[in-house]
């Protein structure tokens, strides 16, 4: 709870995984009574460290082992092998002690009390985590201000929109000053404005409090706007660990600019490195590297063509990962 305590983890990171494994035994029905047992390595020798105050995106396709990792980091699941420490604590052995140091937000499962005003859920956190009164007030005020919850505190949770509820959930996870915040798909299903609010808040939390943030997401923009570091996991193994830019290089992923012109025109002569990949009536699709700026491209086109509307489509994570694979296969 106290942020300036010496790190018990020592020289390593704040979150440390060393050869962590999780093996599940899956029983599958193969006939009326016949069953087949199969061992599935959901997490297969995972090693990484996260320093205090880092903001890390943890991504990978469904079933890659993301949520299994998060469940081991939060003490929900016991690893089958390897060494795992969060803030110097072995999560599986000291689940309740760890709980005081971590905050968890499960994207689609709210932990707020459905029929009660939002503030009641916070009062429960206050008492359940034994947060000192002054601390609780201060943290609540901060969250209320930054997440714009003031008008929502007395509204029963069931009446909140998805975005409001997500903000409410994030505040609930932070009242006890956790050192680490785990977010599972924090922007899923949210509208653009809510996404922006959530992201802005997380950036600020990380900058001001130095809270370590680990987030899983399918939205590459989350990562782009928040994380200096990305880890890609697939088949239980770390495929990539580094900055997002590097991931784009590794995957050579491309964004798409969709342009609606006033009328049908021949393919736009776009400035390098963009190129037209598809034309359909007055609408044209241009691909350009994810690392390049969209603004320059848009300005260049707008100067020479009659634009009605345009939008940028981000590459999705699956596409990026698929490209990494293709890359490796050909290398």
């Amino acid at each position: 709870m106290d942020n300036d305590r010496a790190e018990p983890g020592g020289a390593g990171g704040f979150i440390e995984l060393d050869g962590v494994e999780k093996v599940f035994e899956v029983r599958r029905r193969t006939g009326f009574l016949k069953r087949e047992r199969r061992r599935v390595r959901a997490v297969d020798g995972l090693s990484f460290t996260v320093a205090r105050g880092e903001m890390v995106g943890y991504i990978g396709p469904n079933g890659a082992g993301k949520s299994t990792t998060i469940k081991m980091l939060t003490g929900i699941l016991t690893p089958s092998g390897g060494r795992l420490r969060v803030a110097g604590i072995d999560p599986a052995r000291e689940r309740t002690r760890l709980a005081h140091r971590i905050g968890v937000v499960f994207g689609q499962r709210t932990t707020l009390w459905w029929d009660l005003p939002l503030i009641d859920s916070y009062r429960l956190m206050h008492r359940m985590y034994r947060i000192p009164d002054a601390r609780y007030r201060e943290n609540l005020d901060r969250c209320v201000e930054l997440l714009q919850l003031e008008a929502l505190l007395d509204v029963p949770v069931r009446q909140l929109s998805l975005g409001q509820r997500m903000r409410g959930d994030i505040a609930a996870a932070l009242l006890h000053d956790p050192d680490v915040l785990y977010l599972d798909e924090p922007t899923i299903g949210l509208d653009v404005v809510s996404k922006a609010k959530v992201r802005g808040f997380l950036r600020e939390l990380n900058a001001e409090r130095g809270t370590t943030v680990l987030l899983t997401t399918h939205d590459l923009q989350d990562i782009e706007q928040l994380c200096s570091r990305v880890m890609v996991i697939d088949h239980g193994r770390l495929m990539y660990d580094g900055p997002l830019a590097g991931l784009h290089e590794a995957g050579e992923s491309e964004r798409t600019l969709v342009v609606d012109l006033e009328r049908e025109l021949p393919p736009i002569e776009a400035p390098e490195p963009a190129r037209v990949v598809r034309v359909e009536g007055p609408r044209q699709w241009l691909a350009f590297p994810a690392s390049a700026s969209a603004a320059g491209l848009v300005a260049g086109i707008a100067a020479r063509y009659p634009l009605v509307d345009l939008s940028v489509r981000e590459p999705d994570i699956e596409a990026v990962i698929a490209k990494i694979y293709a890359e490796r296969a050909s290398a």
Binding site: A6, P8, F24, E25, T68, K71, T74, G75, I76, L77, T78, S80, A92, R95, T96, R97, A99, H100, I102, V104, F106, R109, T111, W113, W114, D115, L116, D120, L124, R127, M128, Y129, P156
Partner: protein, 287 residues
Amino acid sequence: MVDAADAAEVTAGRVERGGRVAEGLRAYRLIVAMWIRSTMAYRTSFVLTTLGNFATTALDFVAILLMFSRVDALGGYALGEVAFLYGLTSVSFGLADLAIGSMDRLGRRVRDGTLDTLLVRPAPVLAQVAADRFGLRRLGRVTQGALVLGYALATVDIDWTPAKLLLMPVMLVSGAGIFGAVFVAAAAFQFVAQDASEVSNAFTYGGTTLLQYPPTVFARELVRGVTFVVPLAFVNWLPASHVLERPYPLDLPAWVAFAPPAVAVACCALAGLAWRAGLRSYRSTGS
């Protein structure tokens, strides 16, 4: 600095056992209070469901009354005596049901993944699951049982002794403990078989239905089963035999009438172990 922290941890380890029980009770109280507030958000619904709960449990007694409209005794027991058994088990079961009756939803929580949200809280999971969906409406059952018990005490001519008087509250509390252990064990079983919540009904609701009738009605093997395997007979059959001065089922010695507290403690300990095993299996398999 580090040494001090270590020392604190050792101390924490020593007080852990007792501390965890206190911690659990505290978390239980906090969550129950939240559920009561939630219930009170829909007052009309609360009143209706409490009445419904009362009426539903009263139905069993109506069946008994209907039976006694055609006969004078069942298994050698008169209506008042059957009402005595009925009232005892209903109050005991009602208390356990009120306290932790929603534990049979555990399988659903495992299936939809919401159990995980409890595992990241700094409180024992058992306490959180026990308090889950706490329903004050279940007071309906307790009230109904208490009324029948009152009726029985008014009609049956009991030759009261200090021991019998003492046995009354002891019986009710121990009975609640035994049924509570059944609830916990049944929930632990759902870690293994998530869809099998109905099995617990056989032991909980089935158990209290069984105990509403005199032991003389049932086959000897069945009575043996609920005495030695799932010791429900200690809820009311055995202690009530002492109070009503009836022959003990299975020719058991007279002291068994006073065994319910010990049996309840043993049951709770076993249920606790079953729960720990279940939770451990969940945390290692994730399903």
